[in-house]
Symmetry: C2
Subunit: 227 residues, 2 copies
Amino acid sequence: MDSAELQISIHHRFGQVKFLETALTHSSFANEQDGFDDNERLEFLGDAVLELCISEEGFRRFPSAAEGQLTRIRSQLVKERSLAAIARSLKLDRYIRLGRGEELQGGRERDALLADAFEAVMGAVFLDGGFEAAKGSILAIFEDLWPLETMLPEAKDYKSRLQEVAQERFRDRPIYVLAGTSGPEHEKIFKVDVTLPEGEVFRGTSTSVKRAEQESAKIALDYLCDE
Amino acid sequence: MDSAELQISIHHRFGQVKFLETALTHSSFANEQDGFDDNERLEFLGDAVLELCISEEGFRRFPSAAEGQLTRIRSQLVKERSLAAIARSLKLDRYIRLGRGEELQGGRERDALLADAFEAVMGAVFLDGGFEAAKGSILAIFEDLWPLETMLPEAKDYKSRLQEVAQERFRDRPIYVLAGTSGPEHEKIFKVDVTLPEGEVFRGTSTSVKRAEQESAKIALDYLCDE
């Protein structure tokens, strides 16, 4: 396999080209031929390498983004369709070793197969050159794919976000009720219950009604987004 | 906050203790007091740091484990309950800054809150000392928690694994049928369909019946494990 051009595209010159070759070996090929490892273990590793490098860069690029926003940005960047597009732009499809059955079924064009191979290649860079090498490669490849700070959704106001989510999902709005207070006058604790249109109730507890509302909205959002 | 003992337990001496303090600040505390960042962004980062360090170490410890086994081992190690237990053994609960409302509701004992704080602390180590520092800390903390190689389920034989999964889930076994062949005699391709007890059919294609059976079993396993 002559991978010189590919090594230039991914911004990493391999010390041990064997890692790259394994990253480009689909299981259907390894199953047909003796003596080849497939790329599935490297894909496992590369998935985590990518996740950390993109997380760290998002963390640095968007210092005022909340955790939920960072998670959404990362999901956009590392979803299968995005990775498959990157794989195509790197012409990975030309290098992948496929079994004949998989080839006949059009495997070389499949998003899942291409995304997996890209992850495996990043795993190979990590094994070959360590974390900093993988980070350099990944940041260069993703350089033009980051959203602009100005396109980020508003941070941190959970009540507004819950309002939007509820409108979108239920065509109705959440209702907040002060459920009680406790503690002495100078350090009173407020409990607010928010009820979603379908009847679920979530309680926020804090040192003001406003903060308790935000807390309850946050818990409700976590619930809705985990479903 | 005097965190000297904690820094010893996590095997990292902080250059910038501010990172550690933020990692130990729950959002309920930051919401009540001005001038404190909460630990949610660090938790986002730490989750990915942990994932990569555990993935890499699993990859190295179990050179013959298949990707699916590595995934299962990692899930066991980084699931909420495991991380909460680690947080308790590091006495993180004593250091976490909680809001009063959360405190009254027993937040300091909650698995989710403790696991998040542990992830945030690992994110802080990564920011403070870089990847190698975080890896050192994580490997030391997890040292005694890895399974033994001999306890790993058998690698790679997809037919046997599908058999087990089908017995367990459906109390019945999958059925393999040779669905056809194609190609010239000297490079014939075999298609095998495996039918699960509930009727789903998955096709494997390869250069021998045996390999095509393995392929079909693998696809069926992927399907069952993704549900």
